[in-house]
Amino acid sequence: MTHPPPARHGLAARIALTRGRVAVDVGLRAEPGEIIGILGPNGGGKTSAVLALAGVLPLESGHVRVGGEEWEVPGRTRLVPEARHVGLMLADPLLFPNLSALDNVAYGPRSRGRARVAARERAKTELASVGLTDHAAMKPRQLSSGQAARVALARALATDPLLLLLDEPLAALDPETRARTRSDLAARLTAYGGMVVLVTHDPLDALTLADRLVFIEDGRVTQAGSPAEILREPRTPYVGTVVGLNLYAAQGDSRGHVAMEDGGALVTTDASEGRVWATVPPSAVALHRHAPEGSPRNNWRLRITDVTLQGQSARVGLSGEIIMTAEVTLASVTALGLLVGDEVWASVKATEVRTYPR
């Protein structure tokens, strides 16, 4: 894993703490203006990392430096949350129920010493930028979930934070509202221009919003890189699932033979030697009722474990010599009569199998 050079005016942090049964120890870096997407399974330490950056959870060791300023070094410095320039937004919008939408947004500027009138002016501008000018006087219970999320975003940004922390900001919304709020969020984040740490378990959020992705599993960073790099070369089974590729840990040789660690073998035209990862895109897996003739050199007779429909295509889970997911058209599901428990032939062209060093 490569680290970018130390960010002098950005974010540089190593967060080590224990919460519940998870020992978290992760390094995070961000350049000014960068949006970092943090992904990972639930309970892996994503939220703990965010709360530590906000100063809500203390570090056991490590450091947090933002914009050239030391925020926390255990035993030496520990800025309280109100002394850090952060904005925090969680899945639950957590608006103050006793205050109107406007006063919720003005709460930050007021707390940081702005006069009432100036704070309200700022709040009006923020509400306008999320399209809620008409809702300023409403109490949180009168707002829809999507509106509440936008007020929460406006509130987090009204203090001009150096670092904006978003923990699953869209998770509590229904799918339709989520799609709309996601595009609002993208627009607002572009205009904001500060650093953002965005925690999510929705790959779409991460891929559309983030400049760089960091995967945290069991309290450790397991992979980090640009969305393009991650999509091309996933390096853990979890990341493989997120980007939707069949991923195998294997041994490769110079002639393109790939021996998988769990048994089974692949042939590839993209040979790498030694310990490798091998990927097979689900869309490259062809299914047949009878043993295929001709070019494909990767052929297996596998049992169907599950079939799920997604619009016009279907994902077919297969197991046997090798475990893989195939993505086929709805038409071929009907034509082949694919049923769970059936045995089918699966084939993959050697040109579709990619390998890269582990």
Binding site: G55, E82, A156
Partner: protein
């Protein structure tokens, strides 16, 4: 089967209801209603009711000023010492009031833990109105603290995390968000504490004595009235009953559904 369960459960339940309601009815039935209003203005009842009003209100204000910060600290701290403190605070709640009166005497009395030093300054607490207020606060503060602490514990802790990242100190968060949100809890805690102070008898008569106009509160006046004029005792009792019902009405919808 149905009729059996009705008898097994219904009969004790009905006896319970009668046990509670018949005495109230008896009080109302035996009252000489033409005398109630004049009695309340009499030499025994008038000063006693005024004293009760003064002392219970003072004690309610003390609960508000001392009990609210205490409840906040109890609600937020996870420190083991705070758990012990909470357990200790419930002791006065279950303590027989007379025992509380003796304990107060041992503290503020002439030879008491603190009273012996006050004596040097010519300050005497026992048998004064101040003693009445102390006795009432002693019995009602735990009610207030536990009620308010309960509603403070109901607050989402993450609200405070968000407020602090917005630049609010914990005191500002308390003032602008937490207190407004627990206001209903504070109101019901106050009503509960005030009602408890109003009924205070044991600790008051032990620690403050029974001096008309100075330490003789309404419950004490009822006790005195019983000895020579039953009807005036009934009249004051009805006044206290009416006040209790009003407090109950204020609490309705929060504690009683």
């Amino acid at each position: 089967m149905r009729w059996r369960s009705r008898i097994v459960l219904g009969v004790p339940a009905a006896i319970g209801v009668l046990l509670l309601l018949v005495p109230l009815a008896a009080l109302l039935l035996r009252a000489d209603w033409t005398r109630v209003i004049p009695d309340l203005g009499s030499d025994i009842a008038g000063p006693a009711l005024r004293l009760s009003l003064l002392t219970t209100t003072t004690s309610a204000v003390l609960c508000l000023l001392l009990g609210t910060p205490l409840a906040w600290l109890l609600a937020r701290s996870e420190h083991p010492a705070m758990r012990w403190l909470r357990a200790l605070l419930t002791v006065p709640l279950v303590l027989p009031p007379v025992v509380g009166g003796v304990a107060l005497l041992m503290t503020w009395g002439r030879n008491g833990l603190i009273g012996q030093y006050l004596e040097g300054f010519g300050i005497q607490i026992t048998f004064t109105t101040v003693a009445v207020v102390l006795a009432e606060t002693f019995v009602s503060l735990p009610f207030y603290v536990l009620a308010v602490e309960g509603s403070m514990r109901g607050l989402d802790e993450r609200l405070e995390s968000v407020a602090r990242t917005l630049g609010a100190s914990d005191l500002r968060y308390l003032r602008t968000v937490a207190l407004p949100l627990v206001l209903p809890g504070i109101a019901s805690g106050l009503a509960l504490a005030w009602a408890r102070a109003l009924g205070e008898f044991g600790a008051t008569i032990t620690f403050a004595g029974n001096f008309p106009g100075r330490t003789q509160t309404a419950p004490l006046a009822v006790y005195v009235g019983l000895q020579h004029d039953l009807q005036i005792a009934i009249s004051i009792s009805i006044a206290l009953l009416a006040v209790s019902v009003i407090v109950l009405g204020l609490l309705r919808g929060r504690w009683i559904r």
